[in-house]
């Protein structure tokens, strides 16, 4: 007497299998091209057939992205262009990409610290067309950040993913902000606080990097981190002293944005907070490179990371050549200048960076000054959590043995 059940199962099966069946044809074309020995001929579009490209950008960039893409289409009337825009924040680009590479954008933006994972997953086309021109037009640091083992994978779009010091000119003088001690002394006498997010590996590293420690990758992609040597220990002592200073305050960017001018007189952050801090401080707005700190009795300049946002061309795209043309256009000198005008992003293009408007921007010039002490961010994902743990312990005024803590940090960061 299972007839009825079978009836039902039959119907059910038909429904779901038909649904899969009708789609399978399409899926096959779009993502499962059977492996061939000959490379698939790039889609040679007959004239008139539109080139469809999907572009990802963060929410704030959408308007400008549309404007630039339309300008690109106007400059290239030889094909008809169809653009599709997706909102994917740079921070999520890698995660969204890896979930489904075939559905990801043909051209997408991401911060350079995601480059390694994307390259490992063979997600990006190498920048081979016009390589030399692109390499020459952008600052060497950004080309380095967009490269992996000497191969250029990304089109540098901005060069402002770094950090420096913001300060309130009504409390601190230009002399004060040269040294951390000077800042702390002035802040203490004014009853104000100094902000730095020590429990964030990105900012934490500046002490270690300044004192000559290494955080980078070796040739086969393993993490090198020597924060537990004598230099690192000295830097850690300096961090502990800073955290134990009464004027020290931690917290994320929101804390700095909300508190500067009120209870905070100086803080470390990047260009993305620039507009809001300018708005709060008005004429008292000050920006400078990071200060020096006292380490074993000497003054040592704090180091930093300088990252950039890159455009990548998806290795799954059906129109690699066209996508590369678009990526090159979107990261060209004109586009970068326009991006600076509209959004205030610092250009990676050497000419654009040298333009009077960019040079006059105090935040970006502070960044440029700091960039002399900055390195590219070649860090694996496993570094961040132990670094945050280390910073958090010092923020909580832990009395723990620094050497032992550093050993643990390094062990976790370099774990295979």
């Amino acid at each position: 007497m299972k007839k009825v059940l079978s009836l039902f199962l039959a119907a059910a099966l038909i429904v779901c299998l038909c649904a899969c069946g009708t789609q399978s044809g399409q899926t096959q074309q779009s993502e499962q091209q059977p492996a061939q020995n000959e490379p698939a001929a790039p889609a040679e579009e007959p004239a008139g057939e539109p080139v469809h490209l999907k572009v990802w950008g963060s929410q704030a960039d959408q308007e400008l992205l549309k404007e630039l893409c339309e300008a690109f289409a106007a400059e290239h009337p030889e094909s008809t262009w169809e653009f599709e825009y997706g909102v994917v924040d740079e921070d999520d680009a890698q995660a969204r990409y890896l979930e489904d590479p075939a559905a990801a954008a043909d051209v997408f933006s991401f911060p350079d610290d995601q480059l390694l994972i994307l390259v490992q997953a063979d997600a990006l086309y190498e920048v081979t067309r016009n390589h030399d021109a692109i390499a020459a037009a952008n600052a060497a640091g950004t080309i380095n950040a967009a490269s992996c083992n000497g191969v250029l994978y990304g089109y540098p779009m901005t060069a402002d993913n770094g950090y420096y010091l913001y300060y309130d000119k009504s409390v601190l003088t230009e002399d004060d902000v040269k040294t951390l001690d000077g800042i702390l002394a002035a802040a203490n006498s004014a009853g104000k606080q100094v902000h730095m997010d020590i429990s964030n590996g990105w900012y934490l590293a500046s002490f270690f990097l300044g004192n000559g420690c290494q955080l980078t990758l070796d040739a086969d992609g393993s993490q090198i981190c020597d924060f537990n040597n004598a230099n690192g220990l000295a830097a850690a002592e300096a961090i502990r002293a800073f955290c134990n200073d009464p004027a020290f305050i931690t917290g994320d960017d929101s804390m700095l944005q909300g508190g500067i001018g009120d209870n905070i007189c100086a803080g470390v952050s990047g260009p993305w907070t620039s507009a809001s801090i300018k708005e709060k401080l008005g004429d008292n707005f000050g920006a400078a490179k990071l200060p020096t700190f006292t380490c074993n009795g000497r003054q040592v300049q704090m180091g930093s990371f300088l990252g950039c946002k890159l455009l990548g061309v998806n290795s799954q795209t059906r129109h690699p050549v066209e996508a590369m043309m678009l990526a090159e256009y979107l990261t060209g000198e004109q586009a970068q200048l326009r991006r600076f005008e509209v959004l205030g992003y610092g250009p990676s293009n050497i000419n654009a960076a040298a333009s009077p408007a960019v040079a006059a921007d105090p935040a970006l010039s502070a960044l440029a000054e700091q960039s002399r002490f900055a390195i590219s961010q070649h860090v694996l994902g496993q570094y961040w959590t132990p670094a945050e743990a280390f910073g958090a312990e010092l923020e909580a005024h832990s009395e723990g043995d620094l050497q032992q803590m550093l050993d643990q940090l390094v062990e976790q960061a370099t774990a295979k």
Binding site: A19, Q59, A60, Q257, I264
Partner: protein
């Protein structure tokens, strides 16, 4: 005695007031932030320096980047559909387990109970690819399917309720020639208003609060976001300073329909969970 009673009464009310204040402080803080004139997620003082309605206005006028009205309608649509589908499915399952006896019943019940305990987001990527294979990725329909797909797992409260409806009602109907089908619609459902309300409220709320599933399923399809996903992008590193107060305003707007629904259906909700065992 009556004097003592009066004192006890006052003491109870004082205690309740204190507790209620504790519970409402974060709510008050949210409303306060939503009217705050100064931007940003953090202020170094407690009371805002100025008040404004602009945060609310902005949600409806400044829709270039954050299309709140559209997201609101998306969510409302998904929530209503889920509400209907989930309620029907849950009640069907609960009824089967409570009333009908068939082989494998116990096993099915145990399996359903256990399946719901697997951490859900582990399977998100798999679900995304299944949906993509049938051409539903990045659609609202996919969200509805996902949210109501687990309905069969949440049968236990409704089942407990059905367990208490006297079987004599069914039997009487059966004598009149009613089939199981008719009994379900004509006898069980009309007697189950509380449990219907309870299930419906829960199903209705789910789409308003989830943002993780939406991220995986909608990916870059900004137009089909729900409010929860949209709101969570408002507090990204890049947007939080500019949009934090608008975010609070949006949260206030979301919670209004839910509060109204709660007030309206409170008696069912209270009854629903418990009536199942009322004669214990």
């Amino acid at each position: 005695m009556s004097r003592r009673k009066k004192l006890t009464g006052i003491a109870l009310h004082v205690l309740l007031t204190v507790l209620a204040i504790l519970w409402l402080v974060p709510v008050f803080w949210l409303v306060l932030s939503s009217f705050r004139e100064e931007k940003g997620a953090y202020t170094s003082y407690l009371w805002p320096k100025g008040f404004t309605l602009a945060n609310y206005q902005r949600l409806f006028t400044d829709t270039r980047l954050f299309n709140f009205p559209r997201w609101f309608l998306n969510t409302l649509f998904v929530a209503c559909c889920c509400c209907v589908i989930t309620t029907i499915l849950t009640l069907m399952v609960a009824y089967v387990y409570s009333r009908l006896r068939f082989p494998a019943r116990k096993a099915l019940m145990n399996v359903s109970l256990v399946l719901g305990m697997f951490p859900g987001f582990m399977s998100m990527i798999a679900i995304y690819h299944f949906l993509k294979a049938i051409g539903l990725d990045q659609t609202l329909l996919a969200l509805i399917l996902v949210y109501s797909g687990g309905a069969a797992l949440n049968y236990y409260i409704a089942k407990g309720f059905f367990d208490t409806i006297p079987k004599s009602l069914d039997e009487a109907a059966m004598l009149d020639g009613a089939t199981n089908h008719i009994i379900f619609w004509k006898i069980i459902l009309p007697n189950s208003k509380p449990i219907v309300a309870n299930t419906a409220i829960k199903a209705f709320i789910a789409p308003w609060v989830d943002f993780i599933f939406v991220s995986v399923i909608m990916k870059d399809n900004y137009k089909n976001y729900t409010v929860a996903k949209g709101l969570s992008t408002m507090v990204d590193k890049a947007n939080i300073f500019e949009y934090y107060t608008a975010f609070c305003a949006a949260a206030v707007l979301i919670s209004i329909p839910i509060v109204l629904l709660f007030i309206r259906l409170q008696k069912y909700y209270v009854g629903g969970v418990t009536a199942g065992s009322s004669k214990g």
